[in-house]
Subunit: 97 residues, 5 copies
């Protein structure tokens, strides 16, 4: 899975793939230090993520392994809001700071 | 999912994979600023996309998660026409402008 | 899907994966201008492609979505012989020229 | 599969995908000489891996092929603790040294 | 599929994923000229490949499409020993030379 940051939104009214009602967010990928990698993707959101949230992304067929995306045409799903990322006893990121 | 722009068409008469009647379009990948990334793919179209349209692409096994591609040999499907892409309150792309 | 050009052949007699009788061809990947990208793959052929043919490749689990590869250990299948690639009204490639 | 080294931990309380109770670890990818490649991923752990452990990673839909991840939204699972990596008769890595 | 060369072995006793008894080999990827690409992976072996063998690799969910890996947590399986690779009438590689 990848760690990402929500940076935008995609609107598409003429679409296929059983994703009606699910937001499509633009997410930039972060590395293990939470630095921006310069890569991004459009992702189906299942956790009501907001702008700037650090999120967990699940790609591949496993992007359908949530109750909201079982039959969805999604190859990249936001499956969690990240509270913290740590290395050993040191916090690299904490949502409430 | 990726954001792309339709730039061409592929014709193949001798083919396998249950894709008869579905257009195969050449799509260049765009980044989160809608700039061309220099990469492209051939994609099965399920939404009647036209030349120059900005589209949403779904890869992996989820490329089969539309009513038209359930049994299709497609690893990359155009699943939506994009109306707009925004970052916060700012529009990066709007189809009708 | 990717566009490729057949450039060689792989022979393997001791093998697993239900691919007996299906040719394994070496295919170099082409970009949207039909220029060589310098990347290549070994692909299972389902359309009797010949040396130099420009072909359509399907990867991922969808590589099994042809009648010949349903149970095959293939992650990249040649699913079509390409007749032409065009950009707008201009032909970039035409098989019979 | 990839060889990786556990370097951190992700905590996410608001999440989807049937991964409750499974640790999400940050793993940096190692090459065949066990040198760091500079790439990393967040992975679901099924073997109680600890910080610094050299582990085996399984991606794609096969990331769900363990008893703990059958229905999990994981595209990258830690499926083994590596004891040793050798090239011919020479050990490149041994856990107990 | 990729062409690779067996260069090492991974031993893991604490593991998940129904791969007991199947060797895990380190394979370096070769290009279409059989030159080393500098990339490698750990792969489940189903054909008793030995050190230095040139092999055929199958990734993605199709890595499970052999009788030995049906339920295995493998995203990259050695599915064949390669006898030869040719370009037109010229042999690039032949196992018995």
């Amino acid at each position: 899975m990848k760690i990402g940051k929500v940076i935008g939104k995609v609107v598409s009214t003429r679409k296929e793939g059983n994703v009606d009602g699910l937001p499509i967010l633009v997410v930039s990928y972060l590395d293990e230090t939470l630095a921006d990698t310069g890569k991004s993707a459009a992702c189906i959101d299942t956790v009501n993520a907001g702008d700037g949230d650090v999120v967990l992304l699940c790609a591949s067929s496993s992007a359908r392994m949530t109750s909201k995306t079982t039959h969805a045409a999604t190859d990249n799903t936001i499956v969690g809001i990240i509270d913290s990322v740590s290395a050993g006893s040191k916090f690299i990121y904490s949502k409430n700071k």
